[in-house]
């Protein structure tokens, strides 16, 4: 994606659409983030994009995102400056000015928030992110595997409060930041995992913003030309179609603030006669076709509206939806033992080991 060096106003919609797919059912509706990013670019000009390989080793890279409930974010909209204030609050305790902004995750609303921060702060944005997808908890970042600490981290709300945390490890960061976010009204901006350029090159997934932008553009074109958006997504992401069909059953329950659920699908067309069960916790985590696992976390399981190619979030998943389910290989470092400890099927309570999607289908 070497041609990708600037995010202009007209790139945002494509990027948001592609990032929603990479959100694998979670990460929140990027619509609010999209409108904010477009406004920030209108006000401050396009955002400069830097490829990960071009980041100097002594750079100070700060990933940025929102923490909280996506369902709250669509109602209580941000004041607008929270992400930039979070970066500023972190810079203050670090005693250094950040040189680059990055995305904590490539999926959903968090692909958009760093654009607003970069535009407002006049900093370049790294084409890459900390997950190559979306995950629900803050320690679930690839830099964790490189020994990068999540803290010091800053949380800011729309009222002007800011909070800086220093914790003994990244899971403690999650434990302390989560209730603080709720007290702030269940929606806060965060600047987190400050790292130098060398750590960023080892820890972040390169090129994900470019992938999201290209995917979004392909989906938009497919829709305009009445082509098959699902085939476009498979081609763009190098994945596999696991099933096309109808949602015939959805059940959900909440445990500890996280929604766990299961959706049953029945195949249609060339998939007629097959069934697929999706397990999700904010994101889609496991897909079983005809009773056998065909894809599981940390590989990406993306659910798209079969007609429009619009991604279907786990919250929106409803009886009667006509969808296609894709399985896409994740970044190879998630597939290491340490990676699977953090985000493998067993961490989420499933009783089976991870097997790469390309070997299962």
């Amino acid at each position: 994606m070497s041609d990708f060096d600037l995010i202009g106003h007209d790139d945002v919609a494509d990027l948001a659409r592609g990032a929603a797919v990479l959100g694998t059912g979670g990460g929140g509706d990027p619509y609010i983030g999209r409108v904010m990013a477009e406004q920030a670019i209108r006000r401050h000009g396009p955002v400069r994009v830097v490829q990960l390989a071009d980041v100097p080793d002594d750079a100070l890279v700060v990933p940025v995102g929102m923490m909280g409930a996506p369902a709250v974010m669509v109602e209580k909209l941000p004041a607008g400056h929270e992400p930039a204030r979070a970066v500023a609050a972190l810079a203050e305790v670090l005693g250094r000015t950040p040189t680059h902004v990055a995305c904590v995750e490539a999926g959903g609303v968090n692909s958009m928030i760093p654009i607003t921060a970069a535009a407002e702060l006049g900093l370049p944005l790294i084409d890459g992110d900390g997950m190559g997808r979306a995950f629900p908890e803050l320690q679930m970042m690839l830099p964790t595997l490189e020994g990068v600490a999540a803290t010091p981290m800053a949380l800011t709300d729309e009222k002007g409060n800011s909070l800086v945390l220093r914790t003994v490890d990244n899971r403690w960061g999650e434990r302390l930041a989560r209730p603080a976010t709720v007290e702030m009204g269940a929606s806060a901006a965060t600047a987190i995992y400050p790292m130098d350029g060398a750590q960023a090159k080892r820890g972040l997934v390169p090129g994900t913003l470019g992938v999201a932008r290209d995917l979004g553009a392909r989906l938009a074109r497919a829709r305009r030309e009445h082509a098959d958006p699902v085939a476009e997504a498979v081609a763009a992401l190098g994945g596999f179609e696991l099933l096309r069909g109808k949602v015939v059953d959805v059940s959900r329950r909440t445990t500890g603030g996280f929604v766990r659920g299961r959706a049953g699908l029945e195949g249609t067309g060339e998939w007629a006669g097959h069934t697929l069960a999706l397990g999700f916790q904010n994101e889609h985590l496991v897909a079983e076709r005809d009773g056998a696992v065909v894809a599981s976390t940390p590989d990406l399981i993306c659910v798209l509206d079969a007609e429009t190619g619009e991604p279907v979030t786990t919250e929106a998943m409803r009886y009667g939806f006509r969808v296609a389910v894709l399985g896409i290989p994740c970044h190879p470092r998630w597939r290491t033992d340490e990676g699977l400890d953090l985000v493998g099927p067993r961490y989420f309570g499933y009783d089976h080991d991870f097997v790469p999607v390309e070997r299962l289908v």
Binding site: Q39, V74, L77, K159, V182, G185, R252
Partner: protein, 524 residues
Amino acid sequence: MHIGIDVGGTNTDAVLMEGTSVVASVKRSTTADVTSGIVDALAGLAAEQRFDPKAVQAVMIGTTHFTNAVVSGDGLARTGVLRLGLPAGAGIPPMSDWPDHLADAIGRHVHQAHGGHEFDGRAISDLRPAELRRIAAELGEAGVRTVAITSVFSPVTAEAEIAAAEIIAAELPHVKVSLSHELGRIGLLERENATIVNAALLDVAEHATEAFRRALAGSGIDAPLYLSQNDGTLMDIDYARDYPVATFASGPTNSMRGAALLSGLSDCLVVDVGGTTADIGVLVGGFPRPAGAEVEIGGVRTNFRMPDVVAIGIGGGSLVHTGNGPLRVGPGSVGHRLTSEARVFGGGTLTATDLAVAAGIARIGDPALVADLDPALVRDGLEHIARRIAETADTMRTSAEPLPMVLVGGGSVLVPGALPGFETVLRPEHASVANAIGAAIAQVGGEVDRIYSLGGRDRGAVLDEARQEAAQRAVVAGARPASVRVVEVDEVPIAYLPGDSVRVRVKAVGDLELNTVGQEVGAS
């Protein structure tokens, strides 16, 4: 007895109903003033079946009038927009994503003020009366006729919205106000947009409801008048004057509900074949299955619940392409010019209707004009139509269980009585006026949509509370208490909130309580 009327862009249909039986039905042209088209249709009903206008107990109207006003931008009021929630929301001011022509049509009188709530009802900031009085003064200067007020999390608590409305009303006594908690669900921008559109329509609504009233009075009918809403329930005319957006997309809902009555089925596929498209939807428990995604109206994002309908480009006026390549029907159509351009009417264009006439399954126009058509072409064309409809209908099914199909609409003759994969295909009597019938049989409803924090409370008790509130709202809206039942309970746990938070949506509906005078007449 009661009367259902569908005021569409082209036709005004009317039906006279006795209970759930159709006594008479007519189709007339819609007129620019709306009133005379309705008067004409009512006269047509009387010509078909004499009835005493005084014995009419209720009139229900389904209309696209308000949707059309938004799409065209005609007659919209200059509207002030006020959002409560600062400092939240400053990042995305109201109307940020509106199309220019519509934003210009209502002006850009946008203000944000303090107030509003968190997800759990805590205040984000306190309301500042002086700030609101200053905004009111500016809106007064700008000459707004209406004001739309939206507060953050007003579906959880409407306190801030109501308090602000009192201040605005005291400062600007002649201005009409729309409040968002009465119009929409969680999702600030979508609810705010619906509220602004509603406020902008208040003038149009006043004129249109007056036109409806005049039409009835001119026909000697003195019965309560209702308008149908997008969810298949009714609102009385006074409510419609204040909440015109609630009529949006009532058309597909009415035709599906009409199909349910005519066929006697509550769970079925409904295929409404018009001149240009076939609209396919699903009835579940007598109500259309709602669509999941956001719906744009005139380019504005809203979160109305619309029926889940898939349209394919096949209707009575669809063009039949016989050139090189395989035979195709649609999506192009001669539309309302069918009676001049189709072959059976002496025109030169081969349409789907011509195929049906040539095959002897439809009787309109002059069959002699299509007698020369190749029987193989006729057969292939009709098979193509049947296959396309069957394929699309199949994707709307949610289980392998056999699901009957009901055909309605003027173009339903194109579809044969047997379709691959569908055991039962019905084309009931009066199918061409299913819209008006759907309006006539609409019920009244009440809805609750709120985030509950279970926090140790029993989930069943919370759901019961929501059910009772929805039922109570249906009764307040005019439902006969004994007939009220809960038709929909949707419970979605919310991620990243403490105390097992859950968003609960409950809808209750009941039969309209016909007025006592009417009941006496009906019983005599």
